[in-house]
Amino acid sequence: MRFRVVLLVSVLLMSMTSSTVFAHGSDQGGGDHHARVGELAYFEGKLETSGQERGPYEVQFHAIRLEDKAEIMSMKSSSPDGSYKFAMQFFDGAEHEVTISLVDPATKSILAEKKVTVEVEGFHPPFAVKVKTMVFLLSVIAFGMVVGVSVTRWGKTNRKWKGEYPDVA
């Protein structure tokens, strides 16, 4: 009976630890753009300048994760007329902000800028991964149990050789 209780507690403990894998999932809403973890999100458009500047321009892309302001990606491209196209995957199911800036390559001044809030849909890990993790962690506990039982048996055998256990005999 005691063994079953301990086994039940072990399984419960494993279930709780496996849930740490979900830690990055969140369902924050309200973004301008929707993306899914595991898939590329495409950004395409054209930035217009208000002045008389003419191309080619430099287009800068900057993506940050809003929950901790972590810089996820930053890169630049060149464009003859202000049009842009790039794709990236958001690997964390949290809200991100992508800033696209049109920059004068000579003066490095920002001619136009667009900010896009991206709502990223997170997913739970695949069932196979959860099962594998559970099996691995249970195997580790089972290994410890085998060692514990072996130590007890070894001690018992030793004591028998030394003539202890008068009540058992």
């Binding site: 894998v21 898939e39 972590a70 930053s74 491209s77 794709a87 690997f91 580790v140 149990m145």
Partner: protein, 172 residues
């Protein structure tokens, strides 16, 4: 094993060796990955500066496709959904033989970077494949070892206590 079978196995091994050497194929491009804060790049923590150096091209464009490490049966990462998927599809300018971007790599493993190069005159200058290796965060490795040690200790105590308990029952 017959001679034909043996030669066939050798031929397959050689074919696999040459097909899995993208760094050799991309000798004219060198990828340099550095942590902006110094030290090794840690996944989902550090923003790395990736610098692509082109030996034969001074100006032009590089269309890059970055793919995450493939899924491995025995070592799932923090983001299993991300494993073996496309991460970046973008075009970078090559200036003075270099193209750079900053990126936070999500997981540990070997990333495959495919680079389509176009020179300054708009002519295709070849496709290259590079492998970028990101190691696991040492802190996470340490925490995993501690966690597994705690589980082994927990199992040990449970096994020890249960087997001692059984002994007493038999004794009575």
């Amino acid at each position: 094993m017959t001679k034909v079978t043996f030669l066939g196995i050798i031929a397959i091994i050689f074919a696999l060796m040459f097909s899995n050497s993208p760094v050799t194929a991309g000798e004219s491009i060198i990828a340099n990955v550095q942590n902006e804060q110094g030290g090794d790049v840690r996944p989902d923590l550090d923003t790395a500066e990736v610098e692509l150096m082109f030996a034969n091209i001074q100006n032009g464009t590089a269309h890059i496709f970055l793919r995450s490490p493939e899924r491995k049966f025995f070592s799932p990462t923090d983001f299993p959904i991300v494993e073996g998927t496309d991460l970046i599809d973008a075009t970078l300018p090559i200036e003075n033989g270099k193209a750079t971007f900053q990126y936070m790599f999500p997981i540990r493993g070997d990333y495959h970077l495919k680079v389509d190069v176009v020179d300054g005159e708009g002519k295709a200058a070849g496709t290259h494949e590079l492998v970028i290796t990101i190691n696991e965060n040492p802190e996470e490795v340490k925490n995993a070892v501690i966690f597994i040690a705690i589980l082994v200790a927990f199992g040990f105590v449970v096994g020890y206590v249960l087997s001692r308990g059984r002994k007493r029952v038999h004794a009575v």
